[in-house]
Symmetry: C2
Subunit: 914 residues, 2 copies
């Protein structure tokens, strides 16, 4: 015991016990150090006039003295505890150990911070053979009384007396007895045991304690109480608590307080009730007291769902439905409304309140900020501003940005019955219902004839883009949150469940199956309807009802506050004019990533692209590129026009060329015929371009070093589009981005090529267009030599998908095999492809920015990886000095909000730094 002090240390001179309840308290919410968090909270509620069950708190100083005295109670404590119990008896109108109207109490530990690893709660303390009879009488239920009693004995035996599992079987002896009883009675559920069974169990439990510990279970409530108080104090120095403190660096001299509080019961008669109330509607955010209750019931009964609950307010009573609390117990209802108003005003947020009515008296058991839908989240925050409870800054900070997703995508009807057969990764939010198809081509054909389809693949590849676009949703068996399917789906705002490993897909037979325990193998065939939830990752059989998203009226006001707050600009990743328009509607302030390769897969051009790749020499490549040029120019014209007045970052070709070549024999034959070469020629070329690690292969700027004509033509297409629009009077701001740069000279050389091409076009057209040339920073080396690279870059855009892959040495396409184990085992708190890894990847990014700006102080810095839409990652970007983030169009509102929160969170942090 590191805190043991000599026994003659001064005893506690201060007040040892603080009373609360009955509309008053001897302490308040600020006294956490002395009373612990729970004790201070109960005192505060009492002071607010909230009718919490009365009780008292023994201070943390007493705990310290207890240890200083060699685990003995200081003088005077016993008298103060007796006063405390008397206070509770008075307030509740019951007697501790009283045979007819027994007072039962709970005993809980309570340090200044919540500390898992300390003593559990002891409930129903005060029960013995006599008071149990009294409780049976008052509640009218012997079964209830003896079930409470046997639970108390078990809890006290475990927590206070320290009964251990049997060393040979590791079974809890109480559980063994319970199981034996159920077996003897031939029943399966605890609830099937009768009052008689429970009475027997109490006796057997006490016998077990006697056998194991050689002591009698204490029948005297006072002895029970002192046992529990001592157990709380002793638990402060149990190994789990010591380990927990040491992990967080908490000193042992904080000590723990002990809270003793009256038990109240909502099932002692028809003047009793128990219920839950929300101060505003948790689904809509509407301002009225909403909730439900049951007469003569316990909390469990409400949860069990056996009886139909009654509404709190008259307005919520349905025709023919049960009466409301307002009608049934008007006085209690009035008190509840008042308590709720007070709590909401005090905590300045919508509250979720548990209450019990015992014999006509209202007791508030618990209050906390209420969980709410995205819609309610927005409305409540804006309403609270209008009600002058919080300011706009607070309203912005209160948002959970991720929840905006609900407002932007279809969702499943919460009330619908579902048959969940598997669960994958919720990779792109939304809900989709459709017929199963297994190839992109089928998806296109079925969609053509008006069917809703869900595309099911082991994994998707760039060839599947068209099929993905026409599907309602995408379901894959492999791949994580940044797999091809996930990234593309999010970009399209389309629902996607990825990495659903339980799916065994058989392309041959056009079916998939899932092995379900206790149900066998469930088979789903082409054309069967399924429903997938891109948020939860659930895969359901059949058609589940959908709910369309509705933006609450308060949304625009809230977003305008966020926009007025944030420093970070928010752009979108968009590859088509349609996506660009959508992004603009969602508030994007530019395009941060326009991938040119997706354009290459269009049906009208993939042949020319393949011709280029199959060309044997530069002349052949140039001929094919000449056919691609006008199409690329049209692409860029569309996007630049859609984003008039805003910057558009266009990334030049990035993926390895083999991605554009067909793999399947039939496709190869098709391409061979179209290009008038033999299939074996194409196979040979596909084989020659094969890479062991395509992620680390011949792609990005490396393509431009070996085949400069590709970037030359792309740069020409961009500038021709820009010049033509400029001549029309459209304001264009093209930013040309070179991917995968890791070496200064790569960028120097390619920049020279791009600038020469651009200046050539400008000179030809006679139209001056402003453009910039920058690079994606997506390799660790690029961060380390960012000072050199910045010499040739007008901007950096961190490609954090690839940077995460290379920094961790982790292929996102392969990681699904072990990354889940990492998250499960706590090696990683979250998938680093979802939440930016601040220590590793973030450290490199900070180096990259610092070095980059050391060369070029006005270097523009953005992020265009998937992290650009993740609130935690956006907070990092704000801190690290980014100029903008870029994410898929559907995440733009989330990013706007997160950027504002990052700014607000940053301000006090900076002030604290003083």
């Amino acid at each position: 015991m590191t805190t043991a002090a000599p026994k003659d240390s001064p005893a506690v001179a201060n007040k040892q016990v603080y009373l609360f309840g009955d509309g008053a308290a001897e302490a308040d919410g600020m006294m956490k150090e002395l009373l612990g968090g729970k004790g201070a909270g109960l005192a505060e509620m009492s002071r607010l006039g909230i009718p919490v069950p009365p009780g008292f708190t023994i201070t943390t100083e007493v705990c310290n003295t207890f240890y200083a005295l060699g685990r003995q109670y200081p003088d005077g404590l016993e008298a103060r505890v007796r006063e405390g119990i008397a206070h509770i008896e008075r307030a509740v109108g019951a007697g501790f150990g009283d045979a007819t109207n027994p007072l039962l109490v709970s005993v809980r530990s309570g340090a200044r911070v919540s500390m898992p690893g300390m003593m559990d709660t002891v409930l129903n303390l005060g029960l013995n053979d006599v008071t149990a009879e009294g409780l049976a009488e008052r509640s009218g239920s012997g079964r209830f009384a003896y079930d409470s009693y046997r639970r108390f004995v078990q809890m006290y035996g475990d927590v206070v007396l320290g009964v251990k599992p049997d060393s040979d079987t590791e079974h809890d002896p109480f559980e063994v007895l319970l199981d034996a009883k159920k077996a003897a009675r031939g029943v399966k559920l605890d609830t099937e045991l009768t009052e008689a069974d429970l009475r027997e169990l109490v006796v057997e439990y006490k016998g077990a304690i006697r056998d194991r510990l050689g002591i009698e279970f204490p029948d005297d409530p006072w002895q029970q109480l002192w046992g529990a108080i001592g157990a709380v104090f002793n638990s402060w120095e149990n190994p789990r608590a010591i380990a927990y403190r040491s992990m967080y660096g908490y000193p042992s001299n904080w000590g723990t307080a002990v809270n003793v509080q009256a038990m109240v019961f909502g099932n002692l008669g028809e003047d009793c009730a128990t219920g839950v109330a929300f101060t505003r509607h948790p689904a809509t955010g509407d301002r009225h007291l909403y909730g439900e209750f049951l007469l003569n019931a316990q909390g469990e009964d409400v949860v069990a769902g056996i009886r139909t609950p009654q509404p709190i307010g008259k307005v919520d009573r349905v025709p023919g439905g049960p009466a409301s609390l307002e009608e049934t117990m008007p006085v209690v209802h009035g008190e509840l409304v008042e308590a709720c108003d007070r709590l909401e005003a005090h905590f300045r947020d919508m509250q979720d309140i548990e209450f019990t009515v015992q014999q006509g008296r209202l007791w508030i058991l618990q209050t906390r900020s209420g969980k709410r839908t995205g819609r309610a989240m927005v409305k409540v925050a804006v309403d609270l501003v209008d009600e002058h409870m919080i300011d706009e800054r607070e309203a912005v900070l209160r948002q959970e940005p991720e929840k905006l997703d609900e407002l932007l995508h279809q969702t499943f009807d919460r009330a619908a019955q579902t048959d969940v057969i598997a669960k994958g990764l919720g990779a792109s939010p939304g809900a989709a219902v459709g017929k199963v198809v297994f190839t992109a081509d089928e998806a296109a054909q079925w969609a053509e004839r008006g069917e809703d389809v869900v595309l099911v693949r082991i994994e998707t590849s760039p060839e599947d883009i068209v099929g993905m676009r026409v599907s309602r949703g995408i379901l894959t068996a492999r791949g994580g949150s940044t797999s091809h399917a996930a990234v593309v789906a999010r970009g399209m705002g389309k629902c996607c469940v990825a990495g659903c490993g339980a799916l065994e897909i058989d392309y041959q037979r056009q079916q998939f199956s899932v092995q379900i325990e206790g149900r066998g193998r469930v088979l789903v065939k082409q054309g069967d309807t399924i429903s997938i939830d891109g948020t939860t990752g659930e895969v359901m059989l059949g058609s589940v009802a959908l709910v369309d998203p509705v933006l609450p009226a308060e949304y625009e006001r809230l977003m305008s506050w966020a926009d007025g707050t944030r420093r970070l600009k928010v752009r979108a990743n968009a590859d088509t004019p349609g996506d660009a328009v959508l992004a603009r509607q969602f508030g994007a302030e530019g395009i941060g990533l326009c991938r040119t390769e997706h354009m290459f897969f269009g049906e009208d051009r993939i042949l020319a692209v393949r011709e280029m790749i199959l060309a044997e020499d530069e002349a052949g490549r140039r001929a094919a590129l000449a056919r691609i040029l006008p199409m690329q120019r049209d692409d860029f014209t569309g996007i630049l026009r859609a984003m008039a007045g805003l910057p558009v970052t266009i990334r030049l070709l990035d993926p390895p060329l083999h991605e554009f070549l067909p793999q399947r024999p039939d496709e190869i034959a098709l391409v061979a015929a179209a290009l008038d070469v033999s299939p074996s020629d194409i196979e040979r070329r596909v084989q020659a371009l094969h890479e062991f690690n395509p992620m680390l292969g011949h792609r990005g700027v490396r393509l431009a070093i070996t085949f400069p004509e590709i970037y030359e033509v792309q740069a020409r297409a961009i500038l021709e589009a820009a010049c033509a629009l400029k001549a029309e009077g459209v304001d264009v701001i093209p930013e040309i981005m070179i991917p995968l740069v890791g070496i200064e000279e790569e960028l120097a050389q390619v920049r020279t090529l791009v600038v020469a091409t651009a200046e050539g076009v400008i000179a030809e057209r006679g139209t001056a267009v402003e453009y910039t040339v920058g690079t994606m920073i997506e390799l660790p080396r690029a961060c380390m030599v960012a000072d050199s690279i910045a010499k040739h870059a007008d901007f950096f855009s961190f490609g954090t998908n690839d940077l995460t892959q290379t920094t961790f040495g982790l292929s996102r396409d392969d990681a699904s095999r072990f990354l889940p184990a990492y998250v499960e085992q706590g090696l990683l708190s979250r998938d680093p492809f979802q939440e930016l890894d601040r220590d590793g990847v973030g450290g490199l990014i900070r180096i990259g920015i610092e070095k980059g700006r050391s060369t070029r102080a006005n270097l523009k810095v953005g992020i265009c990886g998937e992290h650009g839409g993740d609130p935690s990652s956006i907070e990092f970007c704000h801190d690290a000095g980014f100029d903008y983030v870029s994410c898929s169009p559907y995440r733009v509102p989330i990013a706007r909000l997160a950027a504002a929160q990052a700014k607000l969170a940053g301000t006090p942090a900076m002030m604290r730094a003083d």
Copy 2:
């Protein structure tokens, strides 16, 4: 002109021209700033009494004044130049412009540092229609005289008069005339033109100058001279020179000097000669003047190889061969010996000297440190120490470590005729002759029956290990210097040529072919003999004679000096007891990397390994591992015994499991039969384990997170081996290394497993063994969070192969497709897999070490990538504070030397830092 000064600036008051030659000089070698590097060198040689052709140097101050005066010569210069020419005339005994005995001079620029981009040399200045006749007379060759004349006119026209290529054709007009003349005469070579042709060309050249520039070619030698001097001065401010200075930050006020020096001729009669001499034998290092010469000849004649050269010394005369210089010109020989002695003593190194004898007078044209073989390099350095010319430190610094390779591997006979059909990357040094086979199995079978084989593969994989071991050499069509073939071959000290892209390998037909320009397709079939050179990368048809390596007697002394100097320890990478013994012989001070996966491929165990991988659950894996355990224990016993008293770092399993599974249908069938499962089961498993980017996949510590039993069994095998040896009295120092760690918790968890297993074995055996547990740092993230990782690591070993791959985002297996273009285009100076990239990878390593030691000050740090054997990378490791480097056994001597050089190079650098 940034340096232009007002015209009235002070004229040069100092000495404008410095004379040299004739055994004296007005300046010395220290005066580079005033006379430029070349001028100071010529002065120094003259002062040493070396008979350099006489001449004079116009100072850099004159150049500055020239510009200050608006490109005019300062007063007094003309007189001083006339004095200079008179000095040369006197010394040579010829007259400038003299009709019968004309003095010809060269004019060269010369700044204080060598500056490409400035004026070229003008030779033979002084020729005109009159002196050319005199030269013809004296040399007895009108053709020689007029060829010199037409070259002079062309050179002067280009360099001094500034004749430009024709703007339409971009052809040099002189070359056009020369080609026309050859066409008219029906000849192909310049040498086929007659004296008459050359006389005509001189006239036509002068006509071309007249036509283009409107001026006559200057016939007056003095006018020629002033023209050349002015051209040198003007060249200081030409665009190329300005760009060059700006690139290197050289100021323009350095100026350039002008060197005017007598031309001397070895072909003016039988009292003339020209030759080359080495002060020691460049192949053996033996101390005697060695070289060859030709009577009445020019330098080109020696090179052309038409006449048989004569030896310098009598001792080198072969019976029946031509007479030596010592016999033919005893006086000149005596002078040459004296000059050579003086030069060697002055430069304190073996010199390679060019000389000319003109009419009985010896002229030294050039001296430089002589190129030498590895053998000579070692002997010369040690001899120079014994001769008190240099100290041991200098001897160590003088070594080119890479050249030690020649002393350790077989080489081809330099004199042998070879038929080179292709060139790949010299990936592992040595020379190999053998019959071509295309599979590892064939290699084993052919070797079994006593054949020497060269294994030819598109690329190799771990399955080929056994076949590689029995082959004389390995030739692959794909892969770079750190491809599987290259790494394994170097480890085995076996010759390897990798990435030989010209090879078109047809496994079906068991042949490869190479397309050779002008020769068509050369076909090589199974069983044909080829020779491959692992240093040059050459692939040759047929059998080329081999020379066995011989270590010179001086080797051990030199290495002992290196070992006494270096701070870095040198270890070897070795996977077998045999390699460990070899490594120890080469001076390894431990094993830095013992890869356990190579052991898994042994014929006796691969089945058990595959069984483990194919197992469906942990129990199945454990059963298979139980069979692997005793074999692994034997492996470790062998290596630990071989390295008794020295540390052995054993890396636990690293590669992805699919590497151990067969890929070919026949192999799959074989394994299926052996394991009693269906081939489709194995195919399914192979398919399930397929990875898109195996480099970034499920490998290293990630295997241990998902299948901890694998590392558990390996740790057990190591400790069981160590305990048994310790009990025998063998001193064992096992170091257990966890690969691919990127996250603190990975190492924490696996270290706990390893330590628990190890302590268990120690307790079982009752033998205390000291062991350490560390990690490979091979991911950028590991460097960034090295402070956390070091909490759980006794040592770091930087795996720079993978760290380079991830830092650059570059797969070494795929990079051969574009990395050569990078080196060719100068984007990278060397392959970063050969020479550690200091800016990127090195920067991360420095962060890793700094952070690691911030947590654990005594952290041992090593390197075990391929860079551990590269001298430049070893220098980095020394600077960065590594404790040791580790490399393949054959590179251990190189590393010992390089480590000593790094220490020696580091000392003055540190002193300079004050």
